[in-house]
Structure formats: C-alpha cells, structure tokens
Symmetry: C2
Subunit: 199 residues, 2 copies
C-alpha cells in the first residue's frame, strides 16, 4: 500500500487499535474523518483530549467523573451506608437505569482474572476495604457480572469483608423479566429454582 498517504495510514492505524475495529473498518473511518469539515475534525480531536484531561476517578467510589467528588457520592439524598460493588463504570449506568437503588457505588475497574493477568491488586479492592473500615457502611451488595470471573471476584471480596461486621449480599440470580423460559440455560433455571420466592 505504498500509494496510501502516510498521514491517512497513520490515522487508520489509530482507529485499528481500538477494540473491535478491524483493518477495513479502520480504513473506512479514517476516510470518513478525512472527509469531515475542518471544525468537526478539530472537535473530534478536542473531544479526545478534553475527555482525557477532565475525566478521572472519584476518590470515594472510583467511578469516572469530571467533578472533584462524583454526583452520586456527593448526593445527600443517597444512602452512604449501602454500597453496590460493580466491575465497570458502565454497570453503574445500568444500575441507575433501574431507578431502584438509593445507595452509593464502588467501581472495581475490572475483575480478578488470572488468565488476563489481572490480580486482586490490579482492581480497586483496597479502596473498598478502606471505605468499609471507616465504619459508616451497613451493607455491601456484590453486583459483579454473573460469570465465572465476576463470581470469583465477588467471593474473594466477600471473604475479605467477613471480619469487618458488614452485611454482604449479592444480586439475585433468576430468569430475566420478559425472557422466554424455553431459551433460558439450565444453570440460570436451576439458580432461579433455588432462589424461588413465595407469592
């Protein structure tokens, strides 16, 4: 491809490094950006730098924020004694969408995953223990993903929390609302059966 301008190839390479963007797509995106008006291309570049500069993790809950303390942690109406532990900032958004949770969050930024070389020291467990040790926390709800690594991480953390006199719970397993039983996998179904409730 010696007839591709170097700057265009470089831009395509940058896109190609993003997750889920293959070579062809990266090329298409680079061509698209090249076709944008100057001010829109500038706005795109600025958005990258502004996000990098202004977004950081909240010192309390470790969620991403552009304020000193994130809006959830600094909200007096939220129950600071109830912490929901999630793996990812995106999970906070999912939980908030349910409009059901009135406590605060703790974002681990990952799960323990020996296969991907992520150990307990690579995610924000230490910060969670410090929050709980401060004594104001009544309950910690583990809401990591219901997969092997999420489970293992939740188990690991709950073991660390056990001596700290705090209630540790986790989200209920079961069949998703609106789903169809025939498509539910057998593990979900057996968990739903175990956790059955009186009506």
């Amino acid at each position: 491809m010696q007839y591709f301008p170097a700057a265009l190839q470089d831009l395509a390479d940058q896109f190609g490094r993003l997750p889920g963007i293959g070579g062809k797509t990266a090329q298409r995106l680079a061509f698209y950006v090249l076709g944008l008006p100057d001010d829109e291309a500038q706005a795109f570049a600025d958005a990258i730098l502004t996000a990098k500069r202004s977004v950081h993790t909240c010192p309390v809950c470790q969620n991403l924020t552009d304020r000193e303390i994130c809006p959830i942690c600094s909200d007096d109406l939220r129950d600071q004694g109830l912490i929901c532990v999630v793996a990812d900032p995106k999970d906070v958004i999912a939980m908030e969408r349910s409009r059901e949770f009135s406590g605060v969050y703790h974002v681990l930024h990952g799960v323990i995953s020996p296969l991907n070389h992520v150990t307990q020291d690579d995610i924000r467990i230490k910060e969670l223990l410090q929050r709980v040790a401060s004594g104001e926390v009544r309950e910690v709800i583990m809401a990591t993903n219901p997969d092997t690594e999420g489970e293992a991480t939740a188990m690991y953390i709950s073991r660390l929390l056990r001596p700290m006199e705090v209630k540790v719970t986790r989200l209920a397993y079961g069949v998703p609302v609106g789903s169809q039983l025939e498509y539910a996998d057998e593990i979900t179904l057996s968990r739903a059966l175990e956790g059955r409730q009186e009506i």
Copy 2:
C-alpha cells in the same frame, strides 16, 4: 444518563457519528480511549489533525495524497495516456494490488446517485474531461463498481467522452476467479456468457 461525565459523553457522541458505529460501540470506544496512556491519546488526536492538514487531492488525478502531485501521477514509468476511472481512493488501492495496470488513475470521489442527491456536478467529472481534452490521453478505462449507480455513472461519462476522440473501455464482467459457479448470481453468469473468450 446524568451520571456520565459530560466530556466522556461528548467523546462517545463523536465516535457515534462515525459510519457503522452504534451507541453501545461508541461508548465502548470512548471508555477505551479514556483508558489509554496520555501520550497515546495525544497521538490519536494528532493523527486526526495531521491527516486533515496534510492529506489533500492530487490536482491531476484527484486521488488523496500528501505530496504536491501524487506518486502515481509523478511516476515517469507509468503510461499517462491510459486513465483508469474509479469512484473512490480505495479502488485505486484495489487496482494497484493487481499489479497489472501501468497507466494512471482518475478518482471521481463518488458516483452519480439521484437518491442520495449526488449529481454529475458533485463528483470530479469536469476534471476528467479537462485531462482528456489536453490531448495526451489515448484510452479511458471505466472501472466504477459494477452496480446500478456505478454503471450509470460510467455510461454518463462515456457519452461525454465520445466526441473527444478517445477510446473508452470498461472492466470485463464475469465470474470471479476462485469462486464457485453454483454461488454465482444469474446476472453475473449471463454477463460472463456474453463476454466469453476463445481459449
């Protein structure tokens, strides 16, 4: 989504405006860029601006280049009397990959498409006519895509070139090499039959 930092949302919006990138993917990409080291995020932003600044169209063939005249047009070994007309810079790369073509190109930057409000004045037909009118061109090979719009554009241009005493040809239709006949569509097959050659 009021708990999403504005700068992060803005970056996700920028990604979401790219073709083929949906809301969820845009969010994922924004998170990824946020997780990049500072210098890599800076390199990404720079790549956008550098590409916008340094890449322009070659005044001769209209292909994208970062030189004054593109490497193909300024190559003395290439036959300047043979012009291959393509719709898109990506098509030049595809043609070059065949290592078969020794002439030069003309990039239209689109095809005539009334449905998408692209008229003959929106693509670089005028520039092609000027090149041919200069008198050095012996043959123009139409190599627009073999679809309705590509065909129509090729027909339109060949009509304009007819009074100019230049040979106008187009790429052969037929079954792709390495393909299987049973999967070839009937129009391709009938074109391949029409264009059959003695062996």
